[in-house]
Symmetry: C2
Subunit: 490 residues, 2 copies
């Protein structure tokens, strides 16, 4: 297996084609690295510019005169072979090639790519790309890539065969405060292929969940073996592009890869314990759930809801995805009956009939999650319900009602109440080692998708936007859990 | 058919059980009406409180001494029959009952509901509910309901058999600046049933699209007939709760309705030209698309993309939903070839290989949308791509680059550029009467989902969050368009 540690944890980087023209790759990449907080050495290389963002640029690689862990090339395709020869002379072993104009651009590009690949293999040079938007390590704040996102360090590592797809996923991660470990856009995969990244992420201790956007795999067997080695240790989530004939054609003209039959691919992935998703958004949500929550050990679900309609929607989604809603055992029914109004539903879903009282919710959740009858609990409508109270209150103040507490204080109090509630959910997951899926009454798009407790606990509390999202995640986590039960966790 | 005009456009309203206790229905409803900007008369009625939000409360309905177009009841179930008798005495014909404790709460509640229904039918009283979160008219700013949302007037009217589902949908509409016409939570449907609301929305000139969350329909034939009458005039979008056995059971304990088989329901809906959706989020997006855009006349789709990966994902989604991506006709290829770099894809999807130049996009869209070969165009990755430029720029400024233009100015300029671009899309839809589906590079969650042009034009430009969302909408609009072609538009 290839040693990619220096590639993903470089301590010094050079950028060829460095410039201050903000729309050029040579500016985008180096300004992102310099502005992103990377603490290693950064060397601009340019034949045109003497100074780039306040740093003296070298004319050649030799001129740098210091070791370079990673070289990033942004100059045109026809400059690449010459630069690789300089790499051999200066001992550079890791190269990222942003430049396009290779196999994706026709026959000439294809032969250039072959020449480059042979040269790299002969000389032991690792190459990311060509035709990639770059790579990042969010722990060391090394952002050698296009999207100017500033993510917290987290457990999710992403490999994308399309830079734009990776781009969009990282922007979404930023919006939802999802932490990530690493990103790599694999580009044309002339040298390093998707299975190499998979093997690396498997061994990487900072990676707990791997997500991949894949259009095609050149060596299906070796990818599947890498996947099998990995899934016994950590979950892999894959979105496959090129699922259909026309999608495959589009993929061929994009990265030149053979997309292959989705049926064969899907069944091979399933046999390898990989979780397949249908959309980019689902990929990120499922990865966050794998990262933050315990796995459900079975498919028996308890539902607690603020209102009937959601209970119905959730029950439908559960049945459609192979989950069951067992009736309430006698002891759970008794425990709930002591708290709830006499006309409560007495069934699962437990309907709290419009009472967004966090204590009632907490007690109901614990009554179900502590019972042997349930493997997971879905919780509908209490998250962000506090926010509605703020609206009731501010309207009443506008209408002249006098009150001792001001709006800011109330908002602060309600936020605190909600955080205490989320904290309790994380605590319950720790105590019973079962997952709880809270769905927000009002999805707030600027809200972190995971509440991580301040105290040292294993699990964070997620906030799902819709019942469908929660159930879909739960069903896929359950499936992975079954895989581990059959094949053993490493 | 019932005349519900006064019910949906009341000029005077009384609220029984009015109070200033912000967590009680008697406060929630009246404070929402008073704070929402309603210009009609509002009469609080309370046996306990003399003054409610600065207004003198009457003890009884008679004491009001003026006509009441709509009465809202928030007091317990056992007070309702007495109040209805007062309605007969005072000539009140429209009543909304928030109170629960009727058929959803067991046998006693069931007989109370029957008694109430017979009394209402005998005396010609329209009743919304019981067990409802209320209703609203966003044009007259009459917000007789729980959610404190402030929506712009628009063409979408919503009926929900679950208040919480309606609640969540309206909060989402607010977040995305989606305008609505009316909302009604139908509750237990003791008197007014979902087909009555459907018939009313059909005739209502302020309603252009109808969306419904339905758990069960008591009289399937009459609902289907109402749907058929309506879909030849305006689209109906339905989300069905209780699609499965356990979902149906949950629905029965929720509203007491028989959910029925989803297969029969779905096929009946399809025969009636109704668009079925799977999720609440999809319901709102599809309704916005019906409201803002022309219908596609066929299924031949052109795709223009900033990057290959999205093109692949989009091609897959199209094929999976019965849409086709015809190759570029010679004249379109020539026109595009004059603008694009020599190594462009020369196929559909047209890949603009990372150049977010709005002029290039505009020209490419027009080349395709003006061609007889295409019925609709999907546009990937240019919307909000301007925002990434802002990040490049601000990093370069932080790194010491000098510039004449400040960040606010640049942001303003880029926003203006984007609005001009969206305006052009709306203009192209007007010119060619074909829909265009822009998908954002970075979905911004606080961004209005529809750009409505300032000039007087028929169509607004939508912004979709993902390729999947755009294609799913397109496929359903196409299906509705086929229905109209077969059955004729009225």
């Amino acid at each position: 297996m290839k040693d990619l540690n220096k590639l993903f944890y470089p301590e010094s980087v050079a950028v060829i084609g460095a410039s201050e023209n903000i729309l050029k790759w040579g500016s985008i990449i180096i300004s992102n690295i310099l502005d992103g907080g990377f603490e290693g050495k950064v060397f601009p290389v340019s034949t045109k510019n003497d100074i780039v963002y306040g740093r003296k640029a070298s004319k050649t690689l030799k001129e740098i005169g210091e070791p370079v862990d990673l070289l990033i090339i942004t100059t045109p395709a026809n400059t690449v072979m010459g630069i690789l020869r300089e790499c051999v002379e200066t001992g550079i072993k890791n190269v990222l090639i942003v430049s396009s104009g290779f196999s994706e651009a026709g026959e000439d590009g294809k032969s250039l790519e072959n020449e480059m690949r042979d040269f790299a293999l002969d000389n032991g040079i690792n190459i990311i790309g060509p035709n990639t938007m770059g790579m990042a390590n969010f722990k060391t704040k090394f952002l050698g890539m296009n999207p100017f996102v500033r993510l917290n360090p987290g457990g999710i590592s992403l490999m994308a065969q399309s830079g734009n797809v990776g781009n969009q996923i990282m922007y979404w991660a930023e919006q939802q405060s999802i932490g990530m470990s690493k990103f790599v856009g694999s580009g044309n995969e002339a040298v390093l292929m998707c299975e190499d990244y998979l093997d690396y992420f498997n061994r990487d201790e900072d990676t707990s969940v791997i997500i991949m956007y894949i259009e095609g795999v050149d060596n299906g067997r070796s990818f599947m073996e890498a996947a099998r080695r990995t899934t016994r240790r950590k979950p892999i989530v894959v979105l496959k592009g090129g699922r259909t004939d026309i999608g495959s054609k589009a993929a061929m003209s994009h990265t030149g890869s053979m997309a292959g039959s989705i049926r064969i691919f899907a069944s091979a992935m399933e046999q390898s314990g990989v979780s397949l998703v249908e959309t980019q958004a689902e990929m990120l949500t499922l990865a966050s759930a794998f990262d933050a929550m315990p796995l459900p050990k079975g498919n028996r679900i308890g539902v607690v809801t603020l209102g009937g309609g959601w209970g119905v929607i959730t029950a439908d989604e559960c049945e459609e995805r192979g989950l069951v809603l067992p009736p309430l055992p006698g002891n759970v029914k008794d425990r709930l009956g002591q708290m709830l109004p006499s006309f409560w539903s007495k069934g699962n879903p437990v309907d709290l009939v419009g009472q967004p009282d966090p204590n009632l919710f907490r007690e109901s959740i614990e009554a179900m999650i502590s019972s042997d009858a349930y493997d997971a609990v879905i919780l509908l409508g209490v998250i962000n319900a506090f926010k509605t109270v703020l609206r009731f209150y501010s309207a009443s103040v506008r209408l002249g009602k006098k009150s001792e507490i001001n709006l800011d204080q109330l908002e602060h109090q309600l936020d605190r109440m909600q955080n205490v509630f989320l904290d309790d959910i994380s605590k319950l997951m720790d105590t019973y080692d079962k997952p709880i899926y809270p769905v927000a009454l009002i999805s707030q798009t600027d809200q972190p998708i995971v509440y991580w407790p301040k105290e040292n606990r294993k699990y964070g509390a997620m906030i799902f936007k819709t019942p469908e999202e929660a159930v879909s995640c739960l069903a896929k986590q359950y499936r992975y859990s079954q895989y581990l039960q059959r094949h053993g966790r490493e």
